[in-house]
């Protein structure tokens, strides 16, 4: 079965239904009033098929990390639902969530911040065993060392401190920790963004191997498009708290329908100089607007080269467009047609 076929077969491991996360903005002082909300995630729905990788792309501030944490249960969602293996795990209290914690694990972005500097690496990796009491203390060490070997670390470094490892090795430690309880889903929150490019490749390959060996499912979050393309089966593009385009990777990368996706792709570095020269540069002006006061209608419209009056009024639904595969969805009133050239965008006034 090809990867794509597996994705299409709808053996869904994770389903997110209209997830919303707002953070209240409060005044300072003893009695605080809420004066607004940071609309970090504003109605996101997605599915991940078992055994595949969903890539989630977006700039800083798009809400992807918040989304990941809501799915992992680290932050309570404001509304919406998360279904794991068919069961509703939205906002479960800690005790009820505990068994799911063995199945859903997370790998973090910062290799320096995600490991407790005062604990030995063996203890860090063995933490899941201790917390869930799955392995008696006597056997823990051997299991941890097995894990270390599996991720490419020297098991004799069991007693070392994180400070004694390089960035890439620390990420491997994080991977080992995530693997310990043989999870089904691993959420990778920009796991290679902080690493040198050559090391990135190593870690990505490791993740791919592990996926194959253990049948893992990944939610892979990144802002680097090439990395996402390499690892994912399906891709979702996020902008300011909403998904603007979703689908299998090849259609999305080769024929992006949303102007934002097109702009992102045009800015991505390419190793082939001819292709790079041939590429049209779509330069987006302006900065990402504040999530406290997002633009009305389609959130991208102030920066969109194709924006028209409708875009500022009505939010476009995420749906399939004519001529696309059934699973390629776009949220745009005026999607990019095949072969269309987008001019440099000027900033349009909000409708």
């Amino acid at each position: 079965m090809t990867e794509q076929a597996a994705a299409d077969s709808r053996d869904v491991l994770l389903r997110v239904d209209n997830l919303v996360k707002y953070f209240p903005v409060r005044t300072a002082g003893f009695i605080q009033r809420t004066v607004g909300h940071v609309q970090a995630v504003d109605g996101v729905s997605l599915t991940i098929a078992r055994g595949t990788t969903l890539g989630l792309v977006g700039e800083t501030g798009s809400g992807k990390s918040t989304l990941a944490r809501c799915i992992a249960g680290l932050i309570p969602a404001t509304s919406g639902k998360v279904f794991f293996d068919g069961k509703d795990i939205t906002n479960l209290p800690r005790r009820r969530m505990a068994p799911f914690r063995r199945d859903i694990q997370m790998i973090f972005q910062d290799p320096y911040g995600s490991l407790n500097p005062r604990r030995r690496v063996g203890a860090i990796i063995g933490d899941p065993f201790a917390v869930h009491k799955t392995v008696p203390a006597g056997e823990r060490k051997r299991k941890v060392q097995d894990l270390m070997e599996r991720v490419g670390l020297n098991p004799e470094h069991y007693n070392r401190f994180p400070a004694e490892f390089s960035g890439g090795q620390r990420q491997r430690i994080g991977v080992a920790r995530a693997l310990a309880l043989q999870p089904k889903l691993i959420i990778c929150d920009e796991p290679v963004s902080a690493l040198d490019v050559s090391i990135q490749a190593q870690v990505l390959n490791l993740l791919a191997d592990l996926q194959q060996d253990y049948g893992l499912t990944y939610l892979f979050i990144a802002h680097d498009l090439e990395v996402v393309r390499h690892v994912s089966v399906s891709v979702n593009v996020m902008y300011l708290g909403r998904i603007c385009e979703a689908g299998p990777k090849n259609p999305v990368y080769e024929t992006p329908r949303h102007p934002y996706t097109a702009a992102l792709l045009s800015a991505a570095a390419s190793a082939d100089p001819e292709a790079a020269a041939a590429r049209q540069r779509i330069i987006l002006t302006g900065d990402i607007p504040s999530p406290i006061d997002p633009p009305s209608g389609c959130r991208f419209h102030p920066r969109c080269p194709k924006a028209q009056e409708l875009c500022g009024i009505e939010e476009p639904p995420l749906e399939g467009k004519a001529g696309d595969a059934a699973t390629h969805l776009t949220a745009c009133h005026f999607p990019v047609a095949a072969g269309e050239k987008l001019a440099t965008a000027g900033r349009r006034e909000q409708a």
Partner: protein, 326 residues
């Protein structure tokens, strides 16, 4: 063997699974830096000496045949009923107002001071760390209540309350320990709370939660090890304040009551003897001074040994400034 392994003088530990390599922990590094600091080592030696003197005070008393609370009206007092000077009649440091051996009493005083100092600091540290951790980690209403309570205790003039309690319940060792502990935990709690608040945001705490660790496990396994360093410095610096507090209370008559020897009540009795028996004033005062100074120096030394960066940073800045201001 890679380069990193060659640089580390690793201590190998034989083990069922084969060779494992120990890493250098923060504590080992701190101890090595501390060892090189002569002032801190001297202070540590003084403290150990003081503790030994305190432990062996009874032995010393039998050595010179002068029990601490026994007055010697004939050998220990001059004809006019005044204390005798150091060196007379086998009293190495002289006698006090009722003819008791001053040196023995100074050693016995060490027992009280060190006992009170260490016990109250231990209690205050445990309580302060627990409260600070809970307030900092849980946040919200728990934190608000605990933090305000801590602030109230910190701001309260403790002498006033100590006086009041001594009146109500009568002075005793238990009261003193309770009072001093009660006023000491707040300072520690505030600092621990501050540290916890910032540590709580670190990614590895989030990672621990994502594994499913509960709040108490996170507090004690993940946060606490990061707190031990500043807490140790604080505790070492709180011991001398506890010693001072106890001696102040005893001085005012609200602490240890005579005839039990405490440096504080000895100094109180010595108030009338400035002109006639300087040794009675000097030696308890010196004992207090040396003890508190030693703990303060050691605390400072530990703090510097744990964080050698500040000094290097300042030195580099100064060098740059001097070099650039030419």
């Amino acid at each position: 063997m890679s380069i990193t392994e060659l640089n580390w003088q690793a201590q190998t530990v034989e083990d069922l699974a084969g060779r494992t390599i120990e890493g250098r922990s923060q504590w080992q590094l701190t101890w090595r830096r501390l060892r090189r600091d002569k002032v801190s080592m001297a202070s540590l030696a003084v403290i150990i000496a003081m503790i030994l003197l305190a432990i062996f005070a009874p032995a010393f008393a039998s050595l010179v045949h002068h029990p601490a609370n026994t007055a010697y009206p004939i050998a220990g007092e001059s004809a006019a009923g005044q204390p005798v000077a150091p060196g007379t009649n086998g009293f190495w440091l002289g006698t006090d107002d009722t003819g008791r051996d001053l040196m023995v009493r100074v050693f016995y005083g060490a027992r009280i001071s060190l006992f009170v100092g260490i016990v109250t600091t231990a209690i205050a540290t445990v309580a302060g760390v627990a409260i600070g951790l809970i307030a900092g980690y849980f946040g919200g209403i728990v934190d608000t209540i605990l933090a305000r309570f801590t602030d109230a205790v910190l701001a309260f003039p403790y002498v006033v309350l100590a006086l009041a309690l001594a009146v109500v319940f009568g002075p005793s060792l238990t009261i003193i320990i309770a009072v001093i502990s009660f006023f000491s935990w707040a300072g520690i709690a505030r600092i621990v709370r501050g540290q916890t608040l910032s540590l709580k945001e670190k990614e590895y705490i989030e990672a621990a939660r994502s594994i499913g660790a509960g709040p108490f496990r996170i507090m004690f396994v993940d946060i606490l090890p990061n707190l031990l360093a500043p807490v140790l410095v604080l505790a070492t610096l709180y011991i001398p304040s506890a010693v001072v507090f106890e001696s102040t209370l005893s001085f005012l008559g609200l602490g240890i009551q005579p005839p039990t020897a405490s440096w504080g009540n000895m100094l109180a009795a010595a108030q009338n003897f400035y002109q006639t028996a300087w040794w009675f004033v000097l030696f308890p005062a010196l004992a207090l001074l040396i003890t508190t100074l030693a703990f303060n120096l050691l605390g400072d030394g530990i703090r510097d040994a744990m964080d050698p960066t500040t000094e290097r940073l300042l030195a580099a800045r100064r060098k740059a400034r001097r070099g650039g201001a030419q």
